[in-house]
């Protein structure tokens, strides 16, 4: 990405070292960090392209490729620090929109260098009018930061909980082991049976116990996890830990129209017992041939001494064809099937007409007339 751009001053340095970052200042022109240092070594600085006097602090690391965008983002941030009115400060929607439009016009003018003097005057005027509000909002942290803080807090809480859990479970585990050990020793002392078998049975019991304990702890962790999740996205009572902390930041969960969003995914339970469906039973395909049975594929492919060699009379499959899965017995079977199928078919006559008899016909008479009523089922 940066290979297309080059620092306007040292040009070549850009290609050499792609990790070289561009710094952008208020006028929108970019300079690599080396050039920035060089520029301010001499004390005062001016942009090499537009000769606007600059300060060292005015340089920011370029986030966007397009310098225009960078400039706009910069101006926007500056302006928004002063114009901080929220929707709740206006009596109705119309006025809020007017305020927003005014704001956007100011930013647009500043970015595109239109009426700069006029715009700056507007800003000053606004500042004077709303001085106290600006100071108040400067003290208050912006919304995004509040949200992030809330998330971080929640995470800390969860990790604390997990730690405590693991501690308690470790303690429990130790206790149990001790108990088992003691029980084993007791058994060995007092029971009459073989020492080995006692040890075996104890080991088995121990294993089942650990398995049960593991599943229990897993479910406990999951439930606490879910609880933590849902807590984040709704008004949670300060029951899980920080009692006495101020009501944490509430993230919006619904649109103003009432449609909800966010929240952990909850699934419906799997429907149980769809009713007894009869099991599938495989019935092999039955091919109805209205005629004599043609030889099967096996008979064709591997002729025994009794069944004859049909395959001789058909073009053999080449090696390539056999590799592809074709065998000439398939073609042979197809031809024979077609030859035998429906050979004993009788056309269905509509009324009880007989097909014409030989004796009734004269030479040359069209056959069509007599069979107008014959109905045909196939093809």
């Amino acid at each position: 990405m940066d290979d297309n751009l080059a620092c306007p001053r040292c040009k070549t340095t850009k290609y050499r070292n792609p990790s070289l970052k561009l710094m952008v200042n208020t006028c929108g022109h970019a300079l690599c960090d080396n050039c920035v240092e060089l520029l301010f070594v001499k004390g005062s600085g001016a942009c090499p392209e537009c000769n606007i006097p600059l300060r060292r602090s005015g340089f920011r690391i370029q986030l966007f490729e397009d310098p225009v965008v960078e400039k706009e983002v910069d101006i926007r941030r500056r302006v928004l620090r002063d114009f901080t009115k929220q929707e709740s400060d206006f009596p109705n929607l119309r006025e809020y929109n007017d305020y927003l439009e005014q704001l956007e016009t100011i930013i647009f003018n500043l970015v595109n260098n239109i009426d700069i003097i006029e715009t700056n005057k507007q800003i000053e005027q606004y500042k004077k009018e709303n001085k106290d509000q600006i100071t108040k909002s400067r003290a208050r942290k912006p919304t995004e930061i509040l949200l992030l803080e809330a998330i971080i807090e929640e995470e800390n809480r969860r990790s604390e909980f997990r730690q405590r859990e693991s501690l308690t479970s470790a303690k429990e585990e130790k206790l149990r082991k001790q108990k088992n050990h003691e029980a084993l020793i007791d058994d060995l002392m007092f029971l009459e049976s073989d020492a080995k078998s006692i040890v075996e049975s104890h080991k088995q019991a121990h294993q089942t116990e650990t398995a049960a304990a593991e599943t229990k702890s897993a479910t406990a962790y999951q439930s606490s996890h879910l609880v933590g999740n849902s807590n984040l996205t709704s008004n949670f009572p300060s029951s899980s830990g920080a009692s006495g902390a101020p009501a944490p930041f509430q993230q919006a969960t619904t649109f103003t129209s009432g449609i909800g969003f966010g929240g952990s995914a909850t699934f419906l339970p799997v429907p149980k017992g769809l009713g007894e469906v009869p099991l599938f039973v495989y019935k092999p395909l039955v091919l109805l041939i209205g005629g004599p049975d043609p030889p099967t594929l096996e008979e064709l492919k591997y002729p025994s001494s009794s069944s004859s060699t049909f395959l001789q009379h058909i073009r053999a499959a080449s090696e390539g064809e056999i590799a592809g899965g074709y065998h000439h017995s398939i073609a042979c079977r197809r031809a024979l099937q077609d030859a035998f199928m429906d050979i004993a078919m009788q056309p269905k006559l509509l009324k009880n007409r007989q097909l014409f008899k030989e004796t009734e016909l004269d030479e040359g008479e069209m056959v069509l007339g007599k069979e107008g009523d014959v109905e045909m089922d196939t093809s």
């Binding site: 004599p292 009379h313 030859a339 199928m341 429906d342 009788q346 056959v367 069979e371 093809s379």
Partner: protein, 259 residues
């Protein structure tokens, strides 16, 4: 028609089948048989995977090629629906091959290859009759083999009765079918009619055909124009009705909001 590679017999058989089925349900006077004929062949080429582009196909036609192309393409869908979209036709050519294989294997006394030219001749004749509409392709194939054997002065009765078919009942129905087929084929007159009769018939057809389907006629053309105009008119009408509805809807909304 000359095609490279030469057109397989299956295509011809399929085309014939379509033609016959089409004119079972439609009158010759409604649709000119010549138009339907070319369309049948074109469709059969497609179905039997004998790929011919419309341009190549029309290159074989004498006369106005563009018009022929239009005719074919317009009639194709009509033909398909008249055949009730049963586009796969089982021709007797594959069963014939099956019988020849069977003969060579189980009745090697007979020289099966000698039968081939007679079989081809018989099957060509069969195409001209109604037989493919009435009998299964296997039956037609068997009839052709038997007829060819008769011409070669061979006897295949032994083959049929003892080797091929062992069931008594089946034998009877097979024999009936074969006999009828051979009779039908034998009886039909195969001379193609002379040119004069053809011309006379064509003239007659011109006089009494249904002009609405004749793309050359004036009636057809006016009907097409009307349909086009109708469409425009119809869209206009729809537009005005929806417009009126919308206006009413808005008026109602305004009334409601006032209260």
């Amino acid at each position: 028609m000359k095609f490279q590679p030469p057109m397989s017999k299956a295509v011809i058989g399929t085309a014939f089948s379509y033609f016959k089925r089409f004119f079972l349900y439609n009158s010759v006077m409604d649709y000119h048989p010549k138009e339907i004929l070319v369309t049948c062949v074109y469709l059969a080429c497609k179905i039997e995977e004998f790929n011919v582009t419309i341009a190549q196909f029309v290159a074989n036609v004498r006369g106005d090629r563009v018009k022929a192309q239009e005719i074919i393409l317009n009639n194709e869908l009509l033909l398909m629906s008249a055949v009730k979209f049963h586009l796969t036709v089982h021709n007797p050519y594959r069963p014939v091959e099956g019988f020849l294989i069977d003969l060579k294997t189980r009745h090697p006394i007979l020289e099966a290859e000698n039968l081939r030219p007679y079989i081809d001749e018989f099957l060509d004749k069969v195409l001209m009759t109604d037989v493919p509409l009435m009998y299964a392709p296997a039956q037609i194939a068997l009839a052709s083999v038997l007829e060819a054997a008769r011409k070669c002065r061979e006897h295949l009765d032994v083959y049929v009765t003892s080797i091929l078919i062992t069931d008594e009942e089946m034998l009877q129905s097979v024999v009936d079918a074969i006999r009828t087929i051979r009779l039908m084929v034998r009886v039909k007159n195969y001379e193609p009619p002379s040119r004069d009769t053809v011309k006379a018939l064509e003239k007659k057809l011109e006089k009494c055909r249904n002009q609405e389907n004749n793309p050359d006629s004036s009636i057809y053309k006016t009907r097409m124009m009307e349909e086009l105009l109708e469409e425009d008119e119809r869209t206009q009408q729809d537009y005005s009705t929806t417009l009126a509805e919308q206006r009413m809807h808005f008026a109602r909304l305004i009334m409601e909001s006032k209260h």
